[in-house]
């Protein structure tokens, strides 16, 4: 996959993770929403880490 495509895919996944938090809270509620937010956040952090280390790594 080309660099722009990877970055775009990463941004789309980040946006989906963020938007899904209130949707899960509204539709499922309770513990599902509570721990679901943590799982979605873990997915978000993984994507950020992937983007940073593969596409935007900085050397001194």
């Amino acid at each position: 996959m080309k660099r722009n495509g990877k970055v775009l895919l990463g941004i789309v996944v980040l946006a989906l993770c963020f938007a899904s938090v209130p949707i899960v809270a509204y539709t499922l509620g309770g513990w599902y929403a509570y721990w679901g937010a943590a799982l979605l956040s873990a997915a978000w952090a993984t994507v950020l880490l992937w983007l940073r280390t593969t596409e935007f790594w900085e050397v001194d």
């Binding site: 209130p22 309770g30 929403a33 937010a37 943590a38 873990a42 880490l49 790594w57």
Partner: protein
């Protein structure tokens, strides 16, 4: 639960156990501080160490400054008081914000290499402007004093609940312990002590969170109890508002009032971890790391960001077992939930271990913030205005300034303790998120940002902070609504920063070249 579980009360045993556990944790932290004190010969070393801090310590220290008394103590109060609608301030998605801080904050090292020793100094280097440095320093001092109040309430409440000491004595004991510990340590001492404290509260927070769910009869029992609960005001008056959903129409000034407030709370969590100067400053002393080591930082951050949810679960467990009884007794109210659950589960030993975790979380954040405030004045204001002041004098001034920055929030907490800790702290958090996310973090990546964009953002953010629903916002509609106020502040800061930057002239290319080197 078939039998009523009594609410625990402090005993001589719990007082001794808590004193020993907290004393041990602080003694160990102070010991680390003394070790680094001997190595610390100049202001630069006191402020950022030797630039050799590794990924494990950086990750733990970052989570320690991020997760304060709010996370390890106040979150149980949020869950207990507001039910599921409190989860937005519990920070169910706080990892999104802190992982963003890990990604953006790593570039602070570039500015440390160019001589930055404080966060406002990063702004000075970025914009070649002493004005931005001074304004950023002033804004940080004001906002961090507000945030410090929360740390005192957390520590003094735990001390009072578990030892039976009165409120003023509890506050004074915690203040003396904190001041002594910060003055001897400095950055390196603080950084390593923070790492120790981050590790302590992660293990304890997870253990008590999981144990509390089983203690209360399991997840479905807790969910049933929360679904049937109504909001009870501090003081004990029950309302008709259900706290069984993810919004609760308690009052427009409550972030979980409606989905607009929820959206604002989510954006706050996304921006504030990077906007907190005590967080992003962790990277000033970090050494160069490999990709694998960078992953270690992120893994530690991910694990410790679950801790606030565990503490929130303790609040839900307390509500399921004790109903709204805690809302009747001030000044701690529902914030007492976590400490009392720890005593109910583990007796004196449980109280001791959990109190140690609360002190670890609150002292670590307070230490990070007091360090920032002291250096804001000594470096960003005094040295900025009088460049000839010697490094030795700066170091002495910084150490002395620890005293007022410990005392001012202490006085505030004593005279006017906030009823729901985390709700109070979110006011300062929104302003820090709106202002410093853009002025510091985005500016490190956006070449087109300008000095006037930064100045306008600080001015706008501080002005809007005064319109908080519990300050002047209640007189100026629609700012009595927390969501409207928070979005106006954060999105407004983004808009002001972008528009003013684009309308004014950036630094010349030759000055920007060292800050934005071309990729080889």
């Amino acid at each position: 639960m078939t039998e009523a579980v009594p609410i625990p009360v402090p005993t001589p045993e719990s007082a001794i156990a808590v004193s020993v556990a907290v004393g041990l944790m602080l003694a160990l932290s102070a010991g680390i501080g003394v070790y680094f004190y001997r190595k610390c010969k100049s202001f630069d070393e006191w402020a950022v160490g030797h630039g050799d801090v590794g990924p494990l310590v950086t990750g733990l220290a970052l989570t320690a400054t991020w997760l304060s008394g709010w996370a390890i103590f106040g979150n149980a109060g949020l869950g207990y008081t507001y039910g599921w609608s409190g989860s937005w301030l519990i920070g169910a998605m706080n990892l999104m914000g802190l992982s963003l801080c890990v990604v953006l904050g790593y570039r602070m090292r570039r500015y440390a290499a160019l001589g930055a020793r404080t966060v406002p100094e990063v702004a000075k280097l970025r914009f070649d402007s002493s004005l931005v440095q001074a304004l950023a320093g002033l804004a940080m001092v004001v906002l961090l004093i507000v945030y410090s109040v929360g740390q005192y309430k957390a520590m003094a409440s735990v001390w009072k609940l578990t030892t039976g000491t009165d409120w003023l004595a509890s506050l004074l004991i915690t203040a003396v312990l904190c001041a002594a510990y910060i003055m001897i340590g400095g950055y390196a001492g603080t950084q390593f002590s923070l790492a120790l404290q981050g590790g302590i509260f992660m293990v304890i927070g997870w253990a008590f969170g999981i144990a509390s769910i089983f203690w209360a009869g399991g997840p479905s029992k807790i969910a049933e109890a929360i679904a049937a609960s109504k909001f009870v005001k501090p003081g004990g008056v029950e309302t008709a508002v259900s706290i069984g959903g993810y919004t609760a129409p308690i009052a427009p000034s409550f972030p979980g009032y409606d989905w607009l407030g929820v959206t604002a709370a989510m954006i706050m969590f996304l921006l504030m971890a990077t906007g907190f100067p005590q967080n992003i400053a962790r990277f000033l002393g970090t050494r160069r790391v490999t990709r694998k080591e960078y992953g270690v930082i992120m893994l530690i951050v991910a694990l410790n960001c679950v801790t606030p949810l565990m503490v929130g679960a303790m609040g839900y467990a307390a509500r399921a077992v004790w109903g709204a009884e805690l809302m009747g007794s001030g000044p701690i109210y529902g914030d007492a939930a976590a400490s009392l659950v720890s005593m109910a589960i583990g007796g004196s030993a449980g109280a001791a271990v959990f109190s140690m975790a609360v002190f670890a979380a609150a002292v670590s954040t307070l230490a990070g913030m007091v360090m920032i405030m002291a250096t804001n004045v000594s470096r960003d204001l005094i040295r900025n205005g009088t460049p000839k002041v010697s490094p030795r004098a700066q170091l002495m001034i910084s150490r002395l300034l620890v005293v007022p920055f410990v005392l001012i929030p202490l006085w505030w907490t004593y005279t006017s303790p906030p009823p729901v800790l985390s709700e109070f702290m979110s006011g300062s958090a929104v302003a820090q998120a709106g202002i410093f996310f853009f002025v510091i973090a985005v500016s490190m990546y956006w070449k087109r940002a300008t000095k006037w964009g930064a100045v306008a953002t600080i001015a706008y953010g501080m002005a809007l902070a005064l319109l908080h629903p519990n300050v002047y916002g209640k007189f100026v509609p629609p700012f009595g609504h927390w969501g409207v106020w928070a979005l106006a502040l954060m999105i407004g800061c983004a808009a002001v920063y972008t528009v003013v930057s684009l309308a004014t002239k950036p630094l010349p290319e030759e000055k920007l070249a060292r800050l934005f080197p071309e990729k080889g």
